[in-house]
């Protein structure tokens, strides 16, 4: 299932460069470039299987932390595949870490440098009319986007007859977050317990 890959230093460098390019293309988040990652890692290079690609995304989405960690898991899996799998020992593990480093440095460095420089510029020029217009003009749009992100997540359950309990949970979470000060982790945990018990 996991044929031993052989990655040359050039391959590792290509991996880094490719994710570096995606970093600059990913407006709206790294996840928007996932289809291109799939094309590169699974179809073109065959460094990852279909299954480990999608489980990298699923695991990172469900674990705490920023979603961009799915990129780290992809790098980890590429490294493990190159080293002969998790059971192959420290050699494979160190390649796994190399994979994390290549993909994470790639996806974070270019965009972070750009963002940091842009923010500094915007801060020194914060009284310019154009800078203020940009921030105030974009504000309502990103608020709309945030609501639509939540909406899209809940609309993954299409069928109201079958999924009404999930909609109910989403509605309850919305109201509790708006009206109470309950800790977010309690709410997420409650959802997880209800789901694990097969009630949803």
């Amino acid at each position: 299932m996991n044929p031993m890959l052989n990655l040359s230093p050039q391959d590792w460098f290509d991996l880094f460069i490719h994710f570096g390019l995606l970093s600059l293309l990913g407006i709206g988040g790294a996840i928007t470039t996932a289809p291109e990652m799939h094309r590169y890692l699974v179809d073109e290079k065959q460094w990852l299987t279909e299954a480990s690609f999608s489980s990298s995304i699923a695991l990172a989405q469900s674990a705490p932390g920023p979603n961009v960690l799915f990129v780290a898991l992809m790098g980890w899996n590429v490294g493990l595949n190159a080293g002969g799998g998790l059971s192959a020992g420290p050699h494979a593990w160190s390649l796994g870490f190399l994979g994390i480093f290549a993909t994470m440095a790639g996806i974070m460095l270019p965009s972070s440098i750009l963002t940091y420089k842009a923010t500094q510029w915007a801060h020194t020029n914060r009284n310019l009319l154009s800078v203020r217009a940009f921030k105030t003009g974009m504000a309502p749009i990103v608020i709309g986007l945030l609501v639509s992100t939540g909406w899209l997540l809940s609309a993954a359950h299409r069928d109201l007859q079958q999924d009404w309990k999930l909609w109910l949970v989403t509605a309850a979470a919305t109201i509790l977050m708006l009206k109470t000060n309950i800790h977010l982790l309690w709410m997420v945990a409650a959802g997880g317990v209800l789901g694990a018990a097969g009630l949803l």
């Binding site: 972070s112 608020i143 945030l146 609501v147 979470a173 959802g191």
Partner: protein, 204 residues
């Protein structure tokens, strides 16, 4: 906005930044943004809602992982580049260790019906939390210099375009964004001009 802004606090050290962002990240199941809004704006009061929306606008428009951009900007605001690095390191390091551990231990378990059910339930909750975050931030719309109705119109348009019509963000952001920024520019300019005129008249 101004009365809110007076009792703002701020982090005391880069270590505090690192720890706070680690804690934020570890609570962020299904999206760190909601936790950042709740903890930094509502609990710790480092930012007002309006300031948070401004920072988030920039983080969202710049390429790359949004929440990383946001933490970078917030860290940089207090302590420059070292602060930015401390905040991003806090955001990434703890969760990375955790997610790797999960990948090693439970790589195969995630297909079980119990785990799938739990994920479904947590997903439904986090959808609600994100919607609520957006609604809370919409309380800043009346302060928008474009005026309340235009601001509501743009928020609604972007919701419909992305959430209902599912038009890719790469189209929605520039198309709506340019129009909104031009209108905001016009309103800000009118305000500035009338302020100047007002000053000119005063001494006379």
């Amino acid at each position: 906005m101004s009365e809110e802004a007076t009792d703002l606090r701020q982090p005391q050290s880069k270590t505090e930044l690192f720890i706070v962002f680690t804690l934020l990240a570890l609570q962020g199941v299904g999206g760190v943004l909601v936790v950042v809004q709740r903890e930094l704006v509502e609990r710790r009061k480092w930012l007002t809602h309006a300031q948070f929306v401004e920072e988030w606008s920039v983080a969202q428009v710049m390429p790359g992982p949004n929440v990383v951009n946001l933490c970078l900007m917030l860290g940089g605001k207090y302590f420059g580049l070292p602060g930015a690095l401390a905040a991003v390191a806090g955001l990434i390091c703890g969760p990375l260790v955790l997610v790797l551990g999960l990948a090693i231990l439970f790589g195969g378990v995630s297909d079980s019906p119990v785990a799938q059910g739990a994920l479904k339930g947590m997903g439904a909750v986090s959808a609600g939390l994100i919607i609520a975050s957006g609604l809370k931030l919409s309380t800043t719309l009346p302060q928008n210099p474009m005026g309340l109705w235009l601001a509501i119109a743009f928020a609604a348009l972007s919701f419909v375009a992305v959430g209902v019509l599912r038009i890719p963000l790469t189209w929605v952001l520039p198309c709506l964004g340019i129009v909104a920024c031009l209108l905001a520019y016009r309103s800000l300019k009118l305000v500035a001009e009338s302020a100047i005129k007002g000053k000119d008249k005063d001494p006379a």
